[in-house]
Every structure is written in C-alpha cells, then in structure tokens.
Subunit: 646 residues, 2 copies
C-alpha cells in the first residue's frame, strides 16, 4: 500500500514537470504563429496591423481559450490556512500533511481581498508567470540590444535634444499624468467609487511615472523598414531608450518615497530624498554598467607578452562579453540599483569601446546573438501582454479611471513634445519641424516597460486598477497608433525611402562645399560634449581600444613612461606625431565623412527581419579610427578655431 | 505602524529579488573565471587539467566558501508544521501568519529523514537549484548541439559499430553494474550498514543505467584539438551521443518498473513491460523529434507562388528553427516521452534536411547560436557539479558502496568495449585496432547526464547514496581520465595531428586508384543503410530540401503529376535526366570526393574555443548536393553493381 502511494506521488511530480512543458509549449506555439504571421505580413506589405500587434492578438486569443476552455477551478486553492506558531513567513515551509512532509517555497505576500482571485484553475495560475521574469530575463536583452545597436553618430548629433526629451520630458509627463489622475481620483471619491481604499497623490505619481515609459518598438520597426528621415528616427529612438531608464528609476524612487506624516501633504525632506534617490540610483547604475563594459574592453584589449590575444578564440570572447554584460545587470540588482539602466549603459559602452577590440567573428556573433535574444524576448513580451488580459486574475476595471488615464497620457505627451520642441528649436540650428513634432507626439506608444513596471506590484487595489488601465493603454496605442504609423507618415508628408548612406553623402558634400555650413548640423554638439569627445578620443579610446592616437602623443611629456606601457603596439603606425591638443572637433563627424567617401556597402546580414534597428554604423568606426584621426588633423589645420563659435 | 510594516515587507521582497541576482552572479563569476582559465590553458598548452576539470574545481572551491563562510543556519527552517485540515499537498498554499496572508508554492515531497538536512543556511538552499533545470534548460542545448554537429559522413560509415556500442553496450554496462552493485549491497547488509532501509535489485539496476551514460566531452575536446584519428573520434562521439539517449530512456524504464509482488523476485510480465516501455519511449521520442525537424524543413523549403521564401528573412528563419527544435523537446516531455532523446534526433534530422534549406546567414547563425548555448550550458553544468559536492545537503557517503561502484563502472566498461569490439571486428573489414579499444575503454568518463539522472531523485536514502557516489565517480573520471588523455594517447601510440581534409584526400586517392578498396572503408554500410540512403536521396531529400535529383526522375512515371507539384523549380537544373534507380552508393561519400578535390579551406570561425566538436563537414553538403549528384552518376556508370558485394 505504501509503495503504491510512493508511485502515485512520483507520477504527481511528473505531472508537475509536464505542466511546465505544456505552458512553455503554449508560448512556443504562439511565437511560431507570430513568426509565420510576420512572414506573411512581410510578403503582403500589410501594415494596418503590425507584427507586435499581431503577437498581442494571438496572445489575447490564447488567453481567451485558456480562460474558458480549461478545467474548472480547483476547490482547495483559495482556502486560507491558519498557522499560529509562525511569526513571519519563512522562505521555505515544511508541512506535515497526513504523515507526509511537503516542502513549500515562499512566493509572495497577498492581500486579503486578493484571496478570491486565487480560486482560478491551475492552468491560469501557471500561465501568469512571475513578474520578476520580465525584469530579470526578458527586459535585459532588449535594453542591452537597444544600447548596443545605438546609432552613435546620429545619436550624439542630437544628444542635447534627446537628453531634454528623456529627462525633462519624462519628468513633465510623470507630473502631468499624476496631476490629471489625481483630479480623476478625487472625482471618483466624490462619486463614491473608491470606498474602503485609499488612493494617494504618490500613487497617482507612481502611475504617471510608469505610464511615461514610451516604447516605440512598433513605430521604429516601421521607420526602419520605410527608411524614414534619420534625424526623426534618431530622436525617437534615443528618446525612448533613455526614457525607459528614466521612467524605471523614477518609478522606483516614487515607490520608496515615504513621507513621515500625511501621505497626501507635501513633505519637502522626503521629496528631496526621492530626488536624491533618483540621482543616486541613476548615477550608480550608470557607473556600474559602464565599469563592467570597461572591464570587458580592457580584457579584450589585453596584450601580454606571452599571451595569445583573446580575440583568437571567438567563443571565449563572446562568452566573456555576454557574461560580463549580464553581470553588469546582476551586480546592479544585487547592489540595490537598477539593473536595466546598468545594462543599457553597459551596452552603449560596449559598443563604443569593446566592440572595436573584438575579432570580426565575435563582432558578428555578439550582434547576432543579442539581435536574436531581443527578437525572441520582444515577441514573448507582446504575446504575454495579450495573454495577461484574460489570464491575470485580479483585474480591476474602472471606466472613469481608464478614461482619465487615456486623457492624461495624451495630454502629458503633448506637454512633453510641443513645449520642449519649441524650447529646443530656440537653440537648434537645424529646427525640429512641425510635422516631426506631430509624428513624435503620435509615436508615444506604451509597451513592454510600462507593462513590466505595472505588473511588478499588483497587490493593492490601486495597483491592480493601474495595471488593468496600463494594459488597456498598451493595447490601444500598439494597435491604433502602431497600425496608423504608415498613414500618419503619408499624411504628415514626412519623407521616406531615404538611403542612410545617400543621406550622409549629400550632407558630406554640402559640408565640404561650404565649411561654414557645418555649424548647422553640428549645432547641438555643445562644448561639454566636445570636451568629452576630445578626452574620449585622446585618452580613453587609446587606453581601451586599438583605435585613436598613441597615448605618447596625447599625454603630457612627463607621462611618457606610463603612456608607453599603456599604448598598444599597433597604435604606433604611420601616424604623424604632431601636437594636436588644440582640436575640438569630434571624431564621429570625420568618420562620417571618411565613410561616405569610401562608400562601404551595407552588409547583407543587416537586412534581417529584426523588429529593432540594427546599428550598422558602428561596424566601421573601429576600423576607421586611424583614418579618422589623420583626416581630423588635416581638417583642423584648415579651420583651427572654427567650432568654438557654436 | 501598519504602513511601516508594509515597507518592511516590500524590502523583504526586494531582498528576495536581490538574492536571486546574487546567486546568478556567483555563477557568472565562476563562468568568467572558467573562461579566463581556458584562455590561460590555451596559451600554455596545459593539458593535465582540462578546462571542464577546471570548471569543476572552481565550483568545488566556491561550494566550500559558500558552505563555511556564509551565515549560520536559519532557526526556523527545519521545523515541520502540522496541518490536519489538508489531505494532500495542493500546488499553492495560502497561509495566514499574524494576520497576513502568504502564498507558498509546492516544491516537493520530502522524506522524514531528510528534514534535518534542511537546517542549512538560506544561501546553500538557494545554490542547490531545482534538478528539473538540468533536464529542461541545460541539457537540451548540449544534446541538440551534439546531434546538429554530428559528423554525418564518418558517423554513417561507422553506424553499425556505433549502434552496437550504444544499445547493446549500454545494456551490458547497466546489467553488469547492477549485478556487481547488488553483490556489494548484499555485503553491506551482511556487515549491517544498511539498517532500516531497503536496497532492491531494481535500485542497483537503476544505478547501473544512470552510470552507463558516458560523457566524453573532455576527451572529445582534446581529440578535436589534437586532431586524433577520425574513426576513433567518430566511434567515441557517436557512442556517447546515442548512449546518453539510451541511458536516459533505460533509467526511466527501470524507475517505472513495478513488479506486483516482491520487488526482489523476477517478474516476467513487469520485465517485458519495462522492455516495452523502453522501446515505446525510445521510438516515440525519435518520431517526435524527427517530425518537428521535418516540419521545419518543409516550412523552410516552402515555395508558394506569391511568397518570398523564408530564407529571405534570416532572423525569422533562425527563430523558427530554434522554436521548433525546442518544441520537439517540450512536446516529447508533455507527451510523457523523453525530451532529450527527441531533441537529439531533432538535431540530427535538422542537420540532415533543414540545414540545406537555410540561407547562408541562417546556417551560420544557427550553428553559432547552438555552439554558444552548448558552451555556456556545459560550463554551467561542470561548475555546478563542483558546487554540488559542498552545497548539496543530503550527501550519504558509504565507502563500501563507493568502492563497489568504482569497481563496477570499470568492469562494466570493459565488458562493453572488449567483447563488442571483438564481435564487431568479425564483421568489420576495417578492424578496430587494439589501441583504439584501450582508448575507448579509457574514455568512459561519466559527466553531465549521469549527474543529471542521479540528482533528479534524491529523496530516499538509496538514491542519496547513489547521487553521492555518482558525483565522486564524475570527479574522478573527469580529473584523472580527462587529465590523462594526452599521455594515454602517446602511450597507446595513437596517431594525432591528422588534418581531416588530408585524411580524406588520401582516402579518396586510394579509392580512385583501386576501386575495389572501397569495400574496406564502406564495409559497414550494410544493406539496410544503403537502402535507407537510396530512399533518402531519391525521395526524402528532394521533397524536403533543395538537393538531390528532381522527383520526376526518381518516382515511377504514373506519379509524375504529384512529383511535379512537389519538386522545387531549382531541382530542374542542368541535371541529366538519366534513369538512375539502380545505384545504391551513398551520397555522402561522393560529396567527400568532391570536397577533397575542391579542397575547401577550413573557415576561421571553426577555430573556436568550443569544448565540443564543430561539424564543419556538413557546411558544404547542401551547396554541393547537385555536384554530388552529378558526380554520382558518373561514378555509378563506371562500376554499376559493385556495392552489392559488401
């Protein structure tokens, strides 16, 4: 008899294993369907529903099926057992049930009012996976890829505007949404819809910060396909990448904002502490991410006498690159910082330094690996968002709140784009035209980050209402705005079909024709960034990569012994040993000129089905470092102090 | 006050998140260290300790640190709580502790005698991760990679021997180990070491089956580096790949062997049921794996009139390839079959058919992706094996059992290799020489699979003893035999430094010099496989890939309409429309000739730091399909019936 029981329990355990397989199979099936649909869409140039929207739709249908076609609720789940002996929830719990000890693992704390939600069936419970999976597994590759494939040249050209939109814009958006929502919440209280639970202004701000994370994956994919104007593309891409980081840290700072007394009153000390938290976490994560990338660059650059370089072993190189980048994320998380922000800046730094040291094989491997991970993670997230509408068990639909949120999101986006564009245009030589502003306004889609931030905490009723609302806004924006991108582009008469190489060529031509025109395109490379660029080019690049001038020429004479030690032998080439401490012009632009004259063809593997932009520009930079440097000297000789006017 | 508590609990939850990050960070750190060590080893041609052994050593040291340098045991864990209301363990448990509801997730059932083992500290508990992670996440990429990178040509040349070693050999090994262990167990009972718990013959057989899974990753990596004789390499590689599959299914069949009465007595019905289970599961998994691969091949081959081919979108292609291969694993698991076996045959079939349809970009992407995943998974497993010695909390060291196991493993390996080699040499034209047999005997390392099978169930005391013993055998074989591979090769005078291309060239030369010599190398392609090859080449390859002759020429005349529909337009090239139904010679060998005359240089990316063999041979096959076919016709014209002698 006892033996029989043993076998039964083994079977039960097997059932558990297989359950996991079934859920993963459901996801695989959805992803396969999505890929086949993307293929179909690619063939029919079907743009009313984008692939991300398609993935979401499949998820929705699957969620519907799981919800209504699987077995009836389990009776036992949903019952709360008492335990007087325990004082707090231990990580593991051993329970003796009918003389058999079972081990239970702590999952989470749940509020009393959510207990009923747990009476759903097992399949539903299994399909709503742990929110931490989003943050720890699905988001990092997406964010890293965004950083790694950043089109540096265009990015730095528009850096001022991008930073303004990302930092100031996100803050504006957060506050505007918070204020509008607070108005609606007051109205709800007035009607009597919020009986029994509180909704503070900080909750409204929390909602504002999480809804401020824009995610124009869909729009950018379409832009990339249609070859929309590069400046518009860069503005949107740069804004969305940085804005995610800002929104995440902002949300975290608000969630730990704890005023001492009345949570509705303004507490200056707590407010400044939150601002301090924000700055501290942001700076810390930035430092953590970049330092891991610098370590990677140093290791891949290492040239010890008796050692074969690491780039002789592409697999080891790729492995190290992957592990160190992931460690940046994990270390930041372990240190209480924001892993996503760390991994973003790690990606940017890796692309800027380490990429130049990698062997050609590893360059391709790392690019393809992260591209692939990004592709999968993105589709999983969109499928899951669709699924969540039906499988998540604690939805709280409140029409007034949802209506308010829609209004708030659009007003906030307008308050972000139009006033900031106006201000930026005062400073920019190359203005951001009206139609670009409308397009940016229109491209304020909400996606993965907003969803991930909302699902992270769904315990209290306000948080559940926020989650439901965020989910609906994501659906609406991805389907309606995502689908409307192409018509909108036509309607706003934004030029498409621009070959980025052609674009640069014309620019380069006009630049060489009249050197003074340069100020119009270089308008934004303000003095701070030019100083940074000089420093980067003269000191950091030579120390961390094979490119740039030898350190012996850039460091003062008394540093020569150190400089010799640090400089790679390959840096001493046929380079002129001129004193060039007075040039300020940046490296990117010259690389640009060099590239456009060399007219390097676009490599075939970039024409992939990726839904993200691939940053093919950075491929050449490393190789052209020396060329760029030489060109630079010639350039600066002709017009020595010219850039200081800007 | 309540608010404060809320914040504390939020902090607790954060602590949980960060805990996860810390553990992953430990693994990342170990892997980074391993990679740096591999790099060091590559530089110093250091072969006494192989990289896998190094990974294990690092794991061991880290385990030691975690065990003795982390905080003291948690008091609360280890206490068993009573719950009279429950009748069985529900998947989730809601518990009310001091007016706060906590959700607990079912982890496993534990025996009473293991409860004490749970008094370890939290870090130790976290580091011993779920055994199902091995089976569901770490093993599939390794096994798939093995199948995908199988050197088909050499594999099929030695298929008979490989199958004999894998099926018959594993069965012999299992029974021999089982019998010897049963002897030792009886002795232990006699001394009185096994008081209070039973150890049946089926348990011994279970141990025998799990210890029969050889894993010569280390040996093969060294072979690959040293370019050891290709036939020896193939015999070992083929044996170990298939033997894993056999051992896994065997272990599963034995674990569900349930004699009705006395578990020690022989129950014929139950025995035959187990044999039936074995065959059914093996065949089912094989069918599941291959059919997913066939679906992939069909999709990637699809040529609808208005459709762009999938190979125009390498990212989609790679994604689909990856997802369908993974689905093969998951479906098999969900259907109660063995996922690992399914994924192995899926890999083989993917390499054979789908690979030919992929775009050049996807060919590289898939190869590099799986190579990378294999590399990471392998190193994680070896690190974890090292860790497990100190972090696993229910070790049961029994010197007599361990001694017995060492004896049994070596005797069983000898009973597998020597008698079977003798029998095979009776049939083989190209004998397996004595020194190859010794080398195969010596290469019977135990590794990941044995470990994974042992850790899957560590509830009862016999299973714990088995796990501890298996772990020690893995350590010993990897360190001693892995480290001794190079000296052993020298001692056995096995030729090294063979350029596979050179090898083929000489073979091809000798073959063309004397056509009759062919029988010596083709000796093993018995009639069954030649029939299969003819069928594959004439029907399957044309239906599933772009290679092979058009179906219109291979199918009977009355099938012409169907054939025309199924044949790819590219198949009608400048191919002669001869009637070639009478040739039997296989395709691989001709590709070989073609290749060796073309003398394609080894691509640079194959010189990677992978610890697995990369199957560069298959790269060319797809491209050369037509060439091979043409050559074939010329060949067969000269010596029409020759192969039927063999």
């Amino acid at each position: 008899m006892e033996k029989l029981k043993k076998y039964v329990s083994v079977k039960d355990e097997d059932q558990f294993y297989h359950q996991g397989a079934v859920e993963l199979l459901v996801f695989n099936f959805l992803l396969i369907l999505t890929i086949l649909t993307i293929w179909l869409f690619k063939n029919h140039r079907f743009r009313f529903l984008h692939e991300t929207g398609g993935a979401m739709l499949y998820g929705l249908v699957m969620g519907l099926i799981i919800r209504y076609a699987t077995k009836a609720p389990d009776v036992e789940s949903g019952t709360v057992y008492e335990c007087e002996k325990l004082k707090s929830g231990p990580p593991t719990l051993l329970i003796n049930i009918t003389n058999q000890v079972y081990e239970y693992q702590y999952k989470r704390e749940i509020s009393h009012h959510n207990v009923n939600g747990h009476q759903g069936n097992a399949m539903l419970q299994k399909m709503t996976f742990d929110p931490s999976i989003f943050f720890n597994i699905l988001l990092p590759p997406i964010i890293f890829h965004a950083g790694y494939s950043l089109k540096k040249r265009h990015f730095f050209r528009n850096l001022g505007s991008i930073l303004t939109y990302a930092f100031l814009g996100t803050a504006i958006s957060c506050v505007v949404i918070g204020l509008i929502m607070y108005g609606f919440v007051k109205a709800m209280v007035h009607i009597g819809q919020l009986k029994g639970w509180e909704f503070h202004f900080t909750d409204c701000l929390f909602f504002g910060s999480l809804m401020s994370a824009t995610d124009p994956v869909t729009v950018l994919a379409i832009f990339h396909e249609l070859h929309v104007d590069t400046d518009l593309y860069t503005l949107l891409f740069g804004e969305s990448v940085l804005n995610d980081a800002v929104a995440i840290v902002l949300t975290y700072s608000i969630s730990i904002y704890s005023p001492k007394e009345n949570p509705n009153a303004f507490d200056a000390a707590a407010f400044f502490q939150s601002v301090g938290n924000f700055l501290g976490i942001f700076a810390g994560s930035f430092a953590m991410g970049s330092s891991y990338a610098v370590v990677t660059a140093l290791i891949s650059f290492m040239h010890l006498t008796k050692f074969t370089k690491l780039c002789e072993f592409p697999m080891l190189e790729t492995g190290l690159f992957f592990l160190l980048s992931w460690s940046a994320f994990l270390s930041a998380e372990a240190a209480g910082l924001t892993g996503i922000v760390a991994v973003l800046f790690c990606g940017v730094t890796q692309a800027h330094y380490t990429y130049n040291n990698l062997s050609p094989d590893s360059k391709m491997r790392t690019k393809q690996l992260f591209e692939f991970m990004n592709f999968l993670a993105e589709n999983v997230i969109f499928c899951y968002m669709g699924l969540a509408l039906f499988t998540f068990q604690n939805h709280l639909f409140n029409p007034l709140f949802i209506f308010g949120a829609f209004v708030a999101v659009f007003v906030a986006r307008a308050c972000n784009i139009y006033p900031l564009s106006f201000l930026l245009n005062l400073g920019r030589k190359q203005k951001i035209p009206r139609n670009f502003q409308h397009m940016m306004m229109f491209s304020g889609l909400r996606g993965a980050i907003a969803f991930a931030l909302a699902i992270r905490d769904t315990e209290s009723q306000p948080k559940q209402m926020m989650f439901t609302t965020a989910l609906l806004i994501v659906f609406f924006t991805v389907w309606v705005f995502g689908g409307g991108t192409t018509p909108m582009l036509t309607w706003l008469q934004i030029r498409v079909g621009i070959d980025p190489d052609e674009d640069l060529k014309t620019e380069a031509a006009s630049q060489s024709a009249s050197n003074l025109d340069k100020n119009t395109t270089k308008a934004e490379s303000a003095w701070l960034f030019r100083i940074w660029y000089g420093f980067d080019h003269k000191y950091l690049k030579p120390i961390l990569t094979h490119t740039g001038p030898p350190l012996t020429t850039t460091l003062p004479a008394w540093c020569n012994p150190v400089a010799k030690l640090l400089t790679s032998p390959s840096a001493y080439g046929d380079q002129p040993k001129d004193d060039d401490t007075d040039y300020i012009i940046d490296n990117d632009e010259l690389t640009e000129n060099y590239e456009s004259s060399a007219h390097i063809p676009v490599p075939a593997q970039d024409r992939t089905g990726s839904t993200q932009a691939t940053g093919k520009e950075d491929i050449h930079e490393g190789d052209l470092g020396l060329g760029g440097y030489k060109l630079q000297l010639e350039h600066t000789a002709g017009q020595p102090q010219m850039n200081s006017l800007a």
